[in-house]
Symmetry: C2
Subunit: 230 residues, 2 copies
Amino acid sequence: MSPRPSAGDRPGSGRRVPDATVARLPIYLRALFDVSDRERTVSSERLAALAGVNAAKVRKDLSYLGSYGTRGVGYEVEYLLFQISRELGLTRDWPVAIVGVGNLGQALANYDGFSARGFRIVALVDADPAKVGTVVAGHPVTHIDDLPALVESAGIAIAVIATPAEVAQDVADRLAEAGVRSILNFAPAVIAVPPDVTVRKVDLAVELQILGFYQQRDGTHPGVGQKASG
Amino acid sequence: MSPRPSAGDRPGSGRRVPDATVARLPIYLRALFDVSDRERTVSSERLAALAGVNAAKVRKDLSYLGSYGTRGVGYEVEYLLFQISRELGLTRDWPVAIVGVGNLGQALANYDGFSARGFRIVALVDADPAKVGTVVAGHPVTHIDDLPALVESAGIAIAVIATPAEVAQDVADRLAEAGVRSILNFAPAVIAVPPDVTVRKVDLAVELQILGFYQQRDGTHPGVGQKASG
DNA sequence: GTGACTTTGTGAACGCGTGCACGCGGCCCG
DNA sequence: CGGGCCGCGTGCACGCGTTCACAAAGTCAC
Protein backbone atom coordinates (compact mmCIF):
# COMPACT_ATOMS: atom_id res chain seq x y z
CA MET A 1 0.00 0.00 0.00
CA SER A 2 1.38 3.28 -1.04
CA PRO A 3 4.77 4.81 -0.65
CA ARG A 4 6.41 4.01 2.61
CA PRO A 5 7.04 6.94 4.84
CA SER A 6 10.70 7.38 5.44
CA ALA A 7 11.51 6.03 8.84
CA GLY A 8 12.17 9.38 10.38
CA ASP A 9 9.04 11.31 9.69
CA ARG A 10 6.39 11.24 12.32
CA PRO A 11 3.12 12.97 12.58
CA GLY A 12 3.13 15.99 14.74
CA SER A 13 6.63 16.99 13.86
CA GLY A 14 6.39 20.72 13.57
CA ARG A 15 2.97 21.62 12.24
CA ARG A 16 0.13 21.56 14.66
CA VAL A 17 -3.19 20.09 13.63
CA PRO A 18 -6.16 22.15 14.86
CA ASP A 19 -8.66 20.38 17.10
CA ALA A 20 -11.48 20.97 14.65
CA THR A 21 -9.45 19.26 11.95
CA VAL A 22 -8.59 16.30 14.15
CA ALA A 23 -12.29 15.79 14.80
CA ARG A 24 -12.94 15.56 11.07
CA LEU A 25 -10.11 13.25 10.13
CA PRO A 26 -12.03 10.14 11.20
CA ILE A 27 -14.91 11.23 8.98
CA TYR A 28 -12.62 11.54 6.00
CA LEU A 29 -11.10 8.22 6.87
CA ARG A 30 -14.42 6.43 6.77
CA ALA A 31 -15.48 8.15 3.56
CA LEU A 32 -12.21 7.23 1.90
CA PHE A 33 -12.51 3.66 3.07
CA ASP A 34 -16.00 3.45 1.58
CA VAL A 35 -14.80 4.40 -1.89
CA SER A 36 -11.39 2.78 -1.73
CA ASP A 37 -12.49 -0.27 -3.69
CA ARG A 38 -14.09 1.75 -6.46
CA GLU A 39 -11.95 4.83 -6.98
CA ARG A 40 -8.26 5.39 -7.11
CA THR A 41 -8.31 9.15 -6.55
CA VAL A 42 -10.71 11.69 -5.08
CA SER A 43 -10.96 15.42 -5.47
CA SER A 44 -11.50 17.64 -2.45
CA GLU A 45 -14.92 18.36 -3.90
CA ARG A 46 -15.89 14.73 -3.96
CA LEU A 47 -14.47 13.98 -0.53
CA ALA A 48 -16.30 17.00 0.81
CA ALA A 49 -19.59 15.67 -0.51
CA LEU A 50 -18.94 12.28 1.05
CA ALA A 51 -18.04 13.78 4.40
CA GLY A 52 -20.75 16.39 4.36
CA VAL A 53 -18.45 19.40 4.61
CA ASN A 54 -17.06 22.24 2.55
CA ALA A 55 -14.46 21.51 -0.14
CA ALA A 56 -12.16 24.30 1.00
CA LYS A 57 -12.25 22.85 4.48
CA VAL A 58 -11.17 19.48 3.18
CA ARG A 59 -8.20 20.99 1.40
CA LYS A 60 -7.15 23.02 4.39
CA ASP A 61 -7.55 20.09 6.74
CA LEU A 62 -5.46 17.84 4.54
CA SER A 63 -2.86 20.52 4.06
CA TYR A 64 -2.08 20.28 7.78
CA LEU A 65 -0.95 16.72 7.19
CA GLY A 66 1.27 17.73 4.30
CA SER A 67 0.92 18.18 0.56
CA TYR A 68 -0.50 14.84 -0.40
CA GLY A 69 -2.58 15.94 -3.35
CA THR A 70 -1.81 16.35 -7.02
CA ARG A 71 -3.08 19.50 -8.67
CA GLY A 72 -5.43 18.87 -11.51
CA VAL A 73 -6.06 15.34 -10.26
CA GLY A 74 -6.88 15.11 -6.57
CA TYR A 75 -5.76 12.82 -3.80
CA GLU A 76 -4.75 9.20 -4.16
CA VAL A 77 -7.21 7.31 -1.99
CA GLU A 78 -4.89 4.62 -0.70
CA TYR A 79 -2.11 6.99 0.13
CA LEU A 80 -4.44 9.39 1.88
CA LEU A 81 -5.97 6.54 3.88
CA PHE A 82 -2.53 5.64 5.08
CA GLN A 83 -1.54 9.18 5.95
CA ILE A 84 -4.70 9.87 7.93
CA SER A 85 -4.49 6.53 9.69
CA ARG A 86 -0.93 7.28 10.64
CA GLU A 87 -1.83 10.72 11.90
CA LEU A 88 -4.61 9.31 14.06
CA GLY A 89 -2.32 6.63 15.39
CA LEU A 90 -4.35 3.82 13.88
CA THR A 91 -1.42 2.02 12.38
CA ARG A 92 -0.91 0.46 15.75
CA ASP A 93 -3.29 -1.51 17.89
CA TRP A 94 -4.94 0.13 20.89
CA PRO A 95 -6.04 -2.12 23.70
CA VAL A 96 -9.14 -0.67 25.36
CA ALA A 97 -10.90 -1.41 28.63
CA ILE A 98 -14.59 -0.84 29.25
CA VAL A 99 -15.58 -0.08 32.82
CA GLY A 100 -19.19 -0.77 33.70
CA VAL A 101 -20.92 -3.82 32.33
CA GLY A 102 -24.49 -2.55 32.27
CA ASN A 103 -26.72 -2.11 29.26
CA LEU A 104 -24.47 0.40 27.65
CA GLY A 105 -21.23 -1.33 28.53
CA GLN A 106 -22.41 -4.56 27.01
CA ALA A 107 -23.63 -2.85 23.88
CA LEU A 108 -20.27 -1.16 23.50
CA ALA A 109 -18.47 -4.44 24.07
CA ASN A 110 -20.45 -5.94 21.22
CA TYR A 111 -20.09 -2.93 18.95
CA ASP A 112 -18.16 -3.84 15.82
CA GLY A 113 -17.15 -0.31 15.01
CA PHE A 114 -14.43 -0.27 17.62
CA SER A 115 -12.43 -3.29 16.60
CA ALA A 116 -12.88 -2.32 12.98
CA ARG A 117 -10.72 0.73 13.56
CA GLY A 118 -7.94 -0.89 15.50
CA PHE A 119 -9.45 -0.42 18.93
CA ARG A 120 -9.47 -3.84 20.53
CA ILE A 121 -11.59 -4.39 23.61
CA VAL A 122 -9.30 -6.37 25.85
CA ALA A 123 -11.07 -6.10 29.17
CA LEU A 124 -14.42 -5.54 30.81
CA VAL A 125 -14.39 -4.21 34.33
CA ASP A 126 -17.10 -3.96 36.95
CA ALA A 127 -17.49 -3.61 40.70
CA ASP A 128 -20.41 -5.98 41.02
CA PRO A 129 -19.18 -9.36 42.35
CA ALA A 130 -22.10 -11.04 40.60
CA LYS A 131 -20.80 -9.92 37.25
CA VAL A 132 -17.13 -10.57 37.89
CA GLY A 133 -16.14 -13.87 36.40
CA THR A 134 -18.93 -13.99 33.85
CA VAL A 135 -18.15 -13.68 30.16
CA VAL A 136 -19.64 -10.87 28.08
CA ALA A 137 -19.05 -10.47 24.37
CA GLY A 138 -16.25 -12.98 24.61
CA HIS A 139 -14.42 -11.22 27.41
CA PRO A 140 -14.34 -12.20 31.05
CA VAL A 141 -15.36 -9.50 33.49
CA THR A 142 -12.61 -8.35 35.83
CA HIS A 143 -13.08 -6.75 39.21
CA ILE A 144 -12.24 -3.08 39.35
CA ASP A 145 -9.79 -3.66 42.18
CA ASP A 146 -7.64 -5.54 39.70
CA LEU A 147 -7.49 -2.54 37.40
CA PRO A 148 -3.85 -1.58 38.02
CA ALA A 149 -2.57 -5.06 37.22
CA LEU A 150 -4.83 -5.29 34.20
CA VAL A 151 -3.76 -1.96 32.76
CA GLU A 152 -0.14 -2.85 33.29
CA SER A 153 -0.24 -6.31 31.76
CA ALA A 154 -2.41 -5.45 28.79
CA GLY A 155 -0.80 -2.09 28.15
CA ILE A 156 -4.09 -0.25 28.27
CA ALA A 157 -3.85 3.46 27.59
CA ILE A 158 -7.48 4.13 26.64
CA ALA A 159 -10.55 3.29 28.70
CA VAL A 160 -14.29 3.76 28.39
CA ILE A 161 -16.50 4.66 31.34
CA ALA A 162 -20.00 3.22 31.01
CA THR A 163 -21.00 3.26 34.66
CA PRO A 164 -23.77 5.13 36.47
CA ALA A 165 -22.99 8.80 37.07
CA GLU A 166 -22.53 8.37 40.81
CA VAL A 167 -19.38 6.31 40.51
CA ALA A 168 -17.92 7.90 37.39
CA GLN A 169 -15.56 10.19 39.28
CA ASP A 170 -14.26 7.35 41.41
CA VAL A 171 -13.69 5.21 38.35
CA ALA A 172 -11.90 8.06 36.62
CA ASP A 173 -9.62 8.47 39.62
CA ARG A 174 -8.79 4.78 39.60
CA LEU A 175 -8.17 4.78 35.87
CA ALA A 176 -5.83 7.75 36.08
CA GLU A 177 -4.09 6.19 39.04
CA ALA A 178 -3.65 2.96 37.13
CA GLY A 179 -1.96 4.81 34.29
CA VAL A 180 -4.71 5.22 31.74
CA ARG A 181 -4.13 8.36 29.74
CA SER A 182 -7.29 8.74 27.66
CA ILE A 183 -10.87 8.32 28.81
CA LEU A 184 -14.09 8.21 26.86
CA ASN A 185 -16.84 9.02 29.34
CA PHE A 186 -20.41 7.92 28.68
CA ALA A 187 -21.60 8.58 32.21
CA PRO A 188 -23.77 11.67 32.56
CA ALA A 189 -21.36 13.40 34.91
CA VAL A 190 -18.54 15.89 34.65
CA ILE A 191 -15.36 14.25 35.81
CA ALA A 192 -12.09 15.84 36.87
CA VAL A 193 -8.79 14.27 35.89
CA PRO A 194 -5.10 15.08 36.20
CA PRO A 195 -3.76 17.37 33.47
CA ASP A 196 -1.96 14.55 31.70
CA VAL A 197 -5.19 12.66 31.12
CA THR A 198 -7.48 13.46 28.20
CA VAL A 199 -11.23 13.07 28.59
CA ARG A 200 -13.88 13.09 25.93
CA LYS A 201 -17.48 12.98 26.95
CA VAL A 202 -20.49 11.55 25.17
CA ASP A 203 -23.79 12.22 26.86
CA LEU A 204 -26.70 10.59 25.15
CA ALA A 205 -29.38 12.49 27.03
CA VAL A 206 -27.67 15.79 26.34
CA GLU A 207 -27.78 15.13 22.63
CA LEU A 208 -31.53 14.65 22.78
CA GLN A 209 -31.94 17.79 24.84
CA ILE A 210 -30.06 19.80 22.27
CA LEU A 211 -32.32 18.41 19.59
CA GLY A 212 -35.25 19.29 21.79
CA PHE A 213 -34.17 22.90 21.87
CA TYR A 214 -34.09 23.35 18.13
CA GLN A 215 -37.23 21.30 17.72
CA GLN A 216 -39.16 23.40 20.16
CA ARG A 217 -37.64 26.58 18.87
CA ASP A 218 -39.12 25.27 15.65
CA GLY A 219 -36.31 26.80 13.70
CA THR A 220 -34.06 24.20 12.25
CA HIS A 221 -30.56 23.81 13.48
CA PRO A 222 -28.53 26.71 12.03
CA GLY A 223 -25.85 24.43 10.76
CA VAL A 224 -27.22 22.02 8.25
CA GLY A 225 -25.47 18.77 8.07
CA GLN A 226 -24.63 16.92 11.17
CA LYS A 227 -23.17 18.49 14.17
CA ALA A 228 -20.78 16.02 15.58
CA SER A 229 -18.38 15.99 18.42
CA GLY A 230 -16.10 18.87 18.10
CA MET B 1 -19.97 24.53 7.91
CA SER B 2 -22.93 24.91 5.69
CA PRO B 3 -25.44 27.08 4.08
CA ARG B 4 -26.35 30.37 5.62
CA PRO B 5 -28.27 30.19 8.83
CA SER B 6 -30.86 32.09 6.88
CA ALA B 7 -31.74 35.55 7.93
CA GLY B 8 -33.60 36.52 11.08
CA ASP B 9 -33.69 33.23 12.78
CA ARG B 10 -36.83 33.38 14.86
CA PRO B 11 -39.34 36.08 14.60
CA GLY B 12 -40.65 37.18 17.93
CA SER B 13 -37.82 36.08 20.11
CA GLY B 14 -35.32 38.88 20.07
CA ARG B 15 -32.37 37.17 21.64
CA ARG B 16 -30.63 34.41 19.80
CA VAL B 17 -29.02 31.72 21.88
CA PRO B 18 -25.63 30.73 20.42
CA ASP B 19 -25.15 27.08 19.52
CA ALA B 20 -22.29 26.75 21.94
CA THR B 21 -24.53 27.96 24.74
CA VAL B 22 -27.34 25.61 23.81
CA ALA B 23 -24.93 22.72 24.02
CA ARG B 24 -24.02 23.70 27.57
CA LEU B 25 -27.51 24.28 28.90
CA PRO B 26 -28.13 20.57 29.48
CA ILE B 27 -24.91 20.42 31.49
CA TYR B 28 -26.04 23.26 33.71
CA LEU B 29 -29.41 21.61 34.02
CA ARG B 30 -27.93 18.39 35.34
CA ALA B 31 -25.59 20.20 37.71
CA LEU B 32 -28.45 22.28 39.07
CA PHE B 33 -30.60 19.22 39.50
CA ASP B 34 -27.83 17.54 41.45
CA VAL B 35 -27.65 20.33 44.01
CA SER B 36 -31.32 21.27 44.00
CA ASP B 37 -32.07 19.35 47.17
CA ARG B 38 -29.20 20.85 49.11
CA GLU B 39 -28.84 24.46 47.99
CA ARG B 40 -31.31 27.19 47.29
CA THR B 41 -29.01 29.44 45.30
CA VAL B 42 -25.81 29.02 43.30
CA SER B 43 -23.24 31.53 42.19
CA SER B 44 -21.88 31.48 38.67
CA GLU B 45 -18.60 30.44 40.20
CA ARG B 46 -20.10 27.39 41.86
CA LEU B 47 -22.15 26.39 38.87
CA ALA B 48 -19.07 26.75 36.73
CA ALA B 49 -17.16 24.36 38.97
CA LEU B 50 -20.00 21.84 38.83
CA ALA B 51 -20.25 22.04 35.06
CA GLY B 52 -16.52 22.12 34.45
CA VAL B 53 -16.47 25.46 32.67
CA ASN B 54 -15.48 29.08 33.18
CA ALA B 55 -17.54 31.29 35.50
CA ALA B 56 -17.74 34.14 33.01
CA LYS B 57 -19.05 31.69 30.45
CA VAL B 58 -21.81 30.62 32.80
CA ARG B 59 -22.92 34.19 33.35
CA LYS B 60 -22.84 34.99 29.66
CA ASP B 61 -24.71 31.82 28.78
CA LEU B 62 -27.43 32.49 31.32
CA SER B 63 -27.68 36.09 30.26
CA TYR B 64 -28.97 34.92 26.90
CA LEU B 65 -31.98 33.48 28.66
CA GLY B 66 -32.62 36.71 30.53
CA SER B 67 -31.52 38.29 33.76
CA TYR B 68 -32.39 35.57 36.18
CA GLY B 69 -29.67 36.21 38.73
CA THR B 70 -29.49 38.46 41.76
CA ARG B 71 -26.35 40.53 42.18
CA GLY B 72 -24.54 39.79 45.34
CA VAL B 73 -26.37 36.50 45.73
CA GLY B 74 -26.40 34.31 42.68
CA TYR B 75 -29.10 32.34 40.90
CA GLU B 76 -32.06 30.71 42.57
CA VAL B 77 -31.69 27.04 41.74
CA GLU B 78 -35.33 26.13 41.31
CA TYR B 79 -36.10 29.12 39.19
CA LEU B 80 -33.08 28.57 36.98
CA LEU B 81 -33.97 24.90 36.58
CA PHE B 82 -37.36 25.93 35.32
CA GLN B 83 -36.04 28.57 32.95
CA ILE B 84 -33.47 26.27 31.38
CA SER B 85 -35.95 23.44 31.11
CA ARG B 86 -38.35 25.74 29.39
CA GLU B 87 -35.73 26.99 27.00
CA LEU B 88 -34.79 23.45 26.08
CA GLY B 89 -38.40 22.52 25.61
CA LEU B 90 -38.35 20.00 28.42
CA THR B 91 -41.52 21.23 30.06
CA ARG B 92 -43.39 19.13 27.59
CA ASP B 93 -43.10 15.47 26.84
CA TRP B 94 -41.24 14.32 23.74
CA PRO B 95 -42.21 10.98 22.28
CA VAL B 96 -39.18 9.35 20.68
CA ALA B 97 -38.79 6.43 18.30
CA ILE B 98 -35.70 4.27 18.07
CA VAL B 99 -34.99 2.72 14.70
CA GLY B 100 -32.77 -0.34 14.74
CA VAL B 101 -33.15 -2.91 17.48
CA GLY B 102 -29.61 -4.24 17.57
CA ASN B 103 -27.17 -4.13 20.44
CA LEU B 104 -27.09 -0.38 20.55
CA GLY B 105 -30.78 0.12 19.95
CA GLN B 106 -31.66 -2.16 22.82
CA ALA B 107 -29.20 -0.49 25.13
CA LEU B 108 -30.66 2.88 24.26
CA ALA B 109 -34.18 1.56 24.83
CA ASN B 110 -33.14 0.49 28.30
CA TYR B 111 -31.20 3.65 29.05
CA ASP B 112 -32.78 5.52 31.94
CA GLY B 113 -31.23 8.85 31.07
CA PHE B 114 -33.68 9.49 28.28
CA SER B 115 -36.96 9.13 30.11
CA ALA B 116 -35.48 10.97 33.06
CA ARG B 117 -35.37 14.12 30.97
CA GLY B 118 -38.80 13.94 29.45
CA PHE B 119 -37.85 11.93 26.41
CA ARG B 120 -40.18 8.99 26.37
CA ILE B 121 -39.38 6.05 24.13
CA VAL B 122 -42.70 5.22 22.57
CA ALA B 123 -41.67 2.98 19.74
CA LEU B 124 -38.98 0.61 18.57
CA VAL B 125 -38.71 0.08 14.86
CA ASP B 126 -36.87 -2.51 12.80
CA ALA B 127 -36.92 -4.03 9.34
CA ASP B 128 -36.19 -7.58 10.45
CA PRO B 129 -39.43 -9.61 10.43
CA ALA B 130 -37.97 -11.84 13.13
CA LYS B 131 -37.77 -8.90 15.50
CA VAL B 132 -41.09 -7.31 14.64
CA GLY B 133 -43.68 -8.31 17.19
CA THR B 134 -41.22 -9.09 19.95
CA VAL B 135 -41.07 -6.90 23.02
CA VAL B 136 -37.87 -5.09 23.99
CA ALA B 137 -37.53 -2.95 27.08
CA GLY B 138 -41.27 -2.99 27.44
CA HIS B 139 -41.99 -1.83 23.93
CA PRO B 140 -43.24 -3.91 21.04
CA VAL B 141 -41.12 -3.73 17.89
CA THR B 142 -42.89 -2.21 14.90
CA HIS B 143 -42.03 -2.81 11.27
CA ILE B 144 -40.44 0.11 9.53
CA ASP B 145 -43.08 0.10 6.82
CA ASP B 146 -45.54 1.19 9.48
CA LEU B 147 -43.45 4.23 10.32
CA PRO B 148 -45.73 6.88 8.81
CA ALA B 149 -48.76 5.68 10.76
CA LEU B 150 -46.70 5.34 13.92
CA VAL B 151 -45.24 8.82 13.68
CA GLU B 152 -48.65 10.25 13.00
CA SER B 153 -50.51 8.50 15.79
CA ALA B 154 -47.86 8.94 18.47
CA GLY B 155 -46.92 12.45 17.45
CA ILE B 156 -43.26 11.59 17.10
CA ALA B 157 -41.00 14.50 16.18
CA ILE B 158 -37.68 13.07 17.31
CA ALA B 159 -36.14 9.77 16.29
CA VAL B 160 -32.93 7.88 16.94
CA ILE B 161 -31.11 5.92 14.25
CA ALA B 162 -29.28 2.92 15.67
CA THR B 163 -29.01 0.85 12.52
CA PRO B 164 -26.01 -0.36 10.55
CA ALA B 165 -24.41 2.33 8.41
CA GLU B 166 -25.59 0.81 5.14
CA VAL B 167 -29.26 1.49 5.76
CA ALA B 168 -28.91 4.74 7.71
CA GLN B 169 -29.59 6.97 4.71
CA ASP B 170 -32.66 5.00 3.75
CA VAL B 171 -33.99 5.17 7.29
CA ALA B 172 -33.33 8.89 7.42
CA ASP B 173 -35.26 9.36 4.20
CA ARG B 174 -38.20 7.42 5.57
CA LEU B 175 -38.13 9.33 8.84
CA ALA B 176 -38.08 12.68 7.08
CA GLU B 177 -40.85 11.52 4.80
CA ALA B 178 -42.92 10.41 7.75
CA GLY B 179 -42.63 13.85 9.29
CA VAL B 180 -39.88 13.44 11.86
CA ARG B 181 -38.08 16.74 12.31
CA SER B 182 -35.10 15.86 14.51
CA ILE B 183 -32.78 12.88 14.19
CA LEU B 184 -30.07 11.59 16.48
CA ASN B 185 -27.83 9.43 14.34
CA PHE B 186 -25.67 6.74 15.92
CA ALA B 187 -24.89 4.99 12.67
CA PRO B 188 -21.35 5.60 11.42
CA ALA B 189 -22.47 7.30 8.24
CA VAL B 190 -23.05 10.82 7.04
CA ILE B 191 -26.69 11.21 6.15
CA ALA B 192 -28.36 13.88 4.06
CA VAL B 193 -31.73 15.27 5.07
CA PRO B 194 -34.10 17.99 3.90
CA PRO B 195 -33.30 21.46 5.22
CA ASP B 196 -36.16 21.41 7.68
CA VAL B 197 -34.79 18.38 9.49
CA THR B 198 -32.10 18.66 12.14
CA VAL B 199 -29.51 15.94 12.53
CA ARG B 200 -27.06 15.37 15.32
CA LYS B 201 -24.50 12.66 14.99
CA VAL B 202 -22.83 10.56 17.63
CA ASP B 203 -20.13 8.29 16.32
CA LEU B 204 -18.63 6.07 18.96
CA ALA B 205 -15.68 4.94 16.89
CA VAL B 206 -14.85 8.51 15.91
CA GLU B 207 -14.60 9.50 19.55
CA LEU B 208 -12.04 6.79 20.16
CA GLN B 209 -10.10 7.79 17.08
CA ILE B 210 -9.89 11.36 18.30
CA LEU B 211 -8.61 10.10 21.62
CA GLY B 212 -6.15 7.98 19.72
CA PHE B 213 -4.74 11.03 18.01
CA TYR B 214 -3.94 12.90 21.21
CA GLN B 215 -2.75 9.73 22.86
CA GLN B 216 -0.33 8.96 20.09
CA ARG B 217 0.61 12.59 19.78
CA ASP B 218 1.52 12.01 23.40
CA GLY B 219 0.75 15.59 24.14
CA THR B 220 -2.37 15.90 26.18
CA HIS B 221 -5.43 17.42 24.73
CA PRO B 222 -4.80 21.17 24.42
CA GLY B 223 -8.15 22.04 25.89
CA VAL B 224 -8.38 21.34 29.57
CA GLY B 225 -11.57 19.79 30.79
CA GLN B 226 -13.78 17.55 28.81
CA LYS B 227 -14.49 18.09 25.23
CA ALA B 228 -18.07 17.16 24.69
CA SER B 229 -20.20 16.51 21.69
CA GLY B 230 -21.37 19.68 20.12
C1' DG C 1 5.79 21.13 -27.18
C1' DT C 2 2.01 24.03 -26.37
C1' DG C 3 -2.24 25.53 -24.70
C1' DA C 4 -6.43 24.76 -22.23
C1' DC C 5 -8.30 22.85 -18.29
C1' DT C 6 -8.54 21.00 -13.71
C1' DT C 7 -7.69 21.01 -8.85
C1' DT C 8 -4.59 21.88 -5.14
C1' DG C 9 -2.64 24.83 -1.54
C1' DT C 10 -2.96 29.10 0.92
C1' DG C 11 -3.30 34.27 2.01
C1' DA C 12 -6.68 37.15 3.77
C1' DA C 13 -11.15 38.58 5.61
C1' DC C 14 -14.80 37.53 8.43
C1' DG C 15 -17.55 35.79 12.27
C1' DC C 16 -18.19 33.23 16.39
C1' DG C 17 -16.87 32.03 20.92
C1' DT C 18 -13.98 32.83 24.96
C1' DG C 19 -12.10 35.21 28.78
C1' DC C 20 -10.95 39.49 31.11
C1' DA C 21 -12.12 43.31 33.58
C1' DC C 22 -15.16 46.30 35.54
C1' DG C 23 -19.45 48.92 36.48
C1' DC C 24 -23.79 48.51 38.42
C1' DG C 25 -27.09 46.82 41.55
C1' DG C 26 -28.77 44.53 45.41
C1' DC C 27 -27.81 42.53 50.21
C1' DC C 28 -26.10 42.72 54.87
C1' DC C 29 -24.02 44.53 58.92
C1' DG C 30 -23.37 47.95 62.13
C1' DC D 1 -29.80 54.53 57.44
C1' DG D 2 -25.36 54.40 55.32
C1' DG D 3 -21.22 52.12 53.96
C1' DG D 4 -19.02 48.10 52.41
C1' DC D 5 -19.08 43.90 50.05
C1' DC D 6 -20.30 40.53 46.82
C1' DG D 7 -21.57 38.71 42.46
C1' DC D 8 -24.22 39.53 38.10
C1' DG D 9 -24.28 41.45 33.49
C1' DT D 10 -21.61 42.98 29.67
C1' DG D 11 -18.30 45.82 26.64
C1' DC D 12 -14.12 44.68 24.61
C1' DA D 13 -10.19 42.36 22.75
C1' DC D 14 -8.20 38.26 21.26
C1' DG D 15 -7.79 33.82 18.98
C1' DC D 16 -9.58 29.99 16.44
C1' DG D 17 -12.04 28.23 12.66
C1' DT D 18 -14.44 28.90 8.29
C1' DT D 19 -14.85 30.53 3.79
C1' DC D 20 -13.60 32.95 -0.39
C1' DA D 21 -10.78 33.65 -4.08
C1' DC D 22 -6.81 33.02 -6.75
C1' DA D 23 -2.15 31.83 -8.26
C1' DA D 24 0.67 27.85 -8.81
C1' DA D 25 1.19 23.41 -10.55
C1' DG D 26 0.17 19.55 -12.78
C1' DT D 27 -2.52 16.73 -16.55
C1' DC D 28 -4.29 15.80 -21.04
C1' DA D 29 -5.28 16.37 -25.95
C1' DC D 30 -3.35 17.23 -30.17
